[in-house]
């Protein structure tokens, strides 16, 4: 696979890892937050931790739109599907997220709700066109990478006057979340490995305010393991030098200003939501999007009554602290006992790149290695 295999070359990895080993200061820890869930996934899938010196610690950030979606929003969608006979279209990632009272989209589907997994936002339009006699609701989630596709289909829906189609908008923004994590202060983060594809859309300049305000280095890292390792080296160098600059390692896909056309489409369809509840982070101002009045006809929250359902976390679940990098998964009382990938209690365990799920597999191996 072009542009993939070359960035997975094991020999280059070993050379870069050697450089990192030589350049880290043995007397200190380097706490690097990889913001994006996809990076967490890559770190475990390729066994990157094994190649790093022990004093580099990856802290798994909240860049997992599945993990930060409040359970109440999923419950509202399930209620809609069951009470109003709506066809609910969702990305597969959401199906098994625990929604409170031991429910989930998958369980609701088993009970008979018409919930369909789609690969592309365009598929939701197709379903709406094929079922004109039914209401079709698209459960839109994601950071800025996944938002432009939703904007694109809303424009098409409006042009087609697809009156049975609507979008339940849960799109969230990266820079405000990043700022919130850094603001909390207690996470002790030295640097940030910035998201690959969010940056493709918003551009590397979008992180300037964060980097300046909190004085930490940010490297925009590509998606492949060599990208992650090279970015780690760049962060180590900045930490050693005491600089706090934004660097772009993913130059083949990220520019300073990003994808202007995608940004324009987003701006045409969405506007800032004054306040949005993030699972684990609390209510953050100006951190999420809602649909503009011009597209109100396709806004599920206007078409249907979708009351906010307050769902408390299960007692003992410390997903909020884990999401903010304050605690390790194994510090949670439920970890590995009541809460496992087969029976997840919080979102961090459901998504395979949630910190707890990743830790569950990998952490057991590290402990096992220590014993044998």
């Amino acid at each position: 696979m072009k542009y993939v295999d070359e960035f997975r070359d094991g020999d280059s990895a070993r050379v870069l890892a050697q450089l990192i080993k030589r350049e880290v200061n043995p007397d200190r820890d380097y706490r690097l937050m990889e913001f994006c869930g996809g990076h967490t996934h890559a770190i475990f899938r390729f066994g990157i931790v094994d190649l790093m010196p022990d004093n580099i610690r990856f802290i798994h950030g909240p860049g997992c739109p599945v993990c930060v979606l409040p359970a109440g929003r999923i419950e509202a969608a399930i209620k809609l599907a069951e009470e109003h006979d709506v066809i609910l279209c969702t990305y597969a990632d959401l199906m098994r997220v625990p929604a409170g009272k031991k429910d989930s989209l998958l369980k609701a589907k088993a009970r008979g709700a018409d919930i369909r997994m789609i690969y592309s936002a365009t598929d939701a339009l197709g379903i709406a066109q094929a079922n004109r006699d039914k209401q079709v609701l698209f459960f839109a989630i994601g950071f800025e990478t996944t938002t432009p596709p939703t904007a694109a289909i809303l424009k098409i829906a409006k042009a087609m006057e697809l009156s049975n189609f609507s979008v339940f908008c849960n799109h969230v923004l990266t820079p405000p979340a990043m700022a919130h994590i850094l603001d909390a202060g207690d996470a002790k983060i030295d640097a940030i490995l910035g998201p690959s594809h969010v940056s493709t859309i918003i551009g590397s300049n979008a992180y300037a305010a964060c980097s300046e305000a909190y004085g930490i280095p940010i490297v925009i890292a590509g998606f492949e393991p060599l990208d992650v390792i090279q970015s780690t080296l760049m962060l180590v160098r900045q930490i050693n030098a005491g600089t706090a600059a934004i660097e772009n390692q993913y130059t083949r896909a990220v520019s300073k200003s990003g994808n202007k056309k995608a940004q324009a489409m987003m701006a045409e369809v969405f506007e800032m939501r004054p306040l949005f509840e993030w699972r684990g982070l609390g209510s953050l101002p100006e951190s999420a999007l809602q649909i503009r009045p011009e597209y109100a006809d396709f806004d599920a929250e206007q078409r249907f009554s979708m009351p906010t359902i307050d769902t408390a976390e299960i007692k003992g679940c410390i997903c909020p602290a884990v999401l903010r990098g304050m605690n390790n998964p194994d510090e949670c009382k439920l970890f590995g006992t009541a809460c496992t990938p087969e029976d997840p209690k919080g979102a961090c365990m459901v998504s395979s790149e949630g910190a707890c799920a990743a830790y569950y597999s990998y952490g057991r191996y590290r402990n096992s290695e220590a014993i044998t």
Binding site: R45, P65, Y119, S368, T372
Partner: protein
């Protein structure tokens, strides 16, 4: 008896009621195509002699959607699947039974295509379908057709193959590329719509197994990695044998298109179903020669030694990635779903 209108007809409730319609369906569709001495006797059971030895029996229900996919269909799958389950004990499969649950309204033309495919798979494998059953459920209560096949076989003397017999140091061989079947199925499912030339690898493995067990008595475990893929099978064997498993990613054969489809959908080939591959755990000293034996068989041309069994009280499956680091290949939690994230 009136003839079946295979071209335009559909399954009706009467076809399952045991009367004239049932008999017509059975005669003109099942008996006609399966056509063997035992079945043709027309009894509710088949009676036969068996050579002395231990017998093996296995059964499998098949509910796959779509019914027809690149490289096979529910019919051929149900024949191969049960033959393989019997063969994984080291046994020689002898006979199959097939039970059909048909949905009212299911087109007879499609049913015939499935039965023809089953008959061919059965004849090619030399394992006849000697008895069967047909039931019909109301429209809406079945996915077209469900097929359950049961197979019996005979274990040659001296063969003792079981999932709990792996020993530290044993070699692990996989008979060919993984993920083909699952990707072929996904490509024909609605909604994912990608074009690929990948075909299901659905195949009967008993002749390969026969050659393997004839070559060496030191095969400890055999299993075909179906649902849940290679990763699930390795975890099962590790748990049963109370041992660990260590494998190398670069030794695991995966077709380029399967890799591409997995990248596209965010899936891991290790967890994707196979229907014509086997995993073999054998004493280390026999591994290289056994590999040659497997590679000489048409179904094992791309076989590879992928790792070995270790001592590990946690029974973990650890993989050295092509990249150089290690990762845990854990049990699958629920069905693997495509991800955006």
């Amino acid at each position: 008896m009136s003839r079946l209108d295979i071209k335009h007809g559909v399954i009706e409730m009467a076809h399952g009621s045991g009367g004239r319609s049932s008999a017509t369906l059975i005669d003109e569709l099942f008996v006609r195509h399966f056509d063997n001495e035992l079945l043709n006797q027309g009894n509710d059971q088949a009676a036969f002699n068996v050579p002395a030895g231990r017998m093996v029996v296995s059964t499998d229900g098949h509910v796959i959607t779509p019914l027809f996919f690149p490289g096979g269909d529910i019919g051929s799958l149900s024949v191969h699947g049960t033959i393989n389950d019997v063969a994984m004990s080291g046994a020689k499969p002898l006979y199959l039974s097939a039970s059909f649950i048909l949905e009212e309204g299911f087109p007879l033309a499609e049913l015939e295509a499935i039965v023809i495919s089953m008959a061919k798979a059965s004849k090619d494998a030399g394992v006849p379908v000697v008895t069967g059953d047909t039931k019909v459920v109301e429209r809406g209560k079945g996915d077209g057709v469900f097929i359950t096949t049961t197979g019996i076989g005979i274990l040659p003397e001296g063969i003792n193959i079981s999932g709990d017999l792996a020993e530290a140091g044993d070699a692990i061989i996989v008979s060919g590329s993984i993920g083909d079947h699952g990707i072929a199925i996904l490509s024909s499912r609605e909604g994912l719509q990608f074009e690929t030339t990948i075909q299901s690898d659905s195949a009967a493995l008993h002749s390969l197994v026969a050659e393997m067990v004839a070559f060496t008595p030191h095969i400890h475990c055999l299993r075909d990695p179906t649902r849940g893929g290679l990763a699930t099978t390795l975890n099962e064997l590790a748990r049963q044998s109370r041992a660990g498993i260590s494998i190398k990613e670069i030794s695991i054969p995966v077709k380029a298109e399967v890799k591409g489809a997995c990248e596209l959908l965010g899936l891991d080939p290790l967890y994707i179903a196979n229907e014509g591959k086997l995993v073999c755990i054998v004493a280390a000293e026999d591994a290289e020669e056994l590999l040659s034996v497997i590679r000489n068989h048409p179904l094992g041309k791309h076989a590879s030694i992928i790792g070995h069994v270790t001592e590990d009280q946690h029974h973990m499956v650890i993989m050295e990635t092509a990249f150089g680091g290690n990762r845990v290949v854990d049990w699958l939690a629920g069905e693997q779903l495509p991800r955006i994230c």
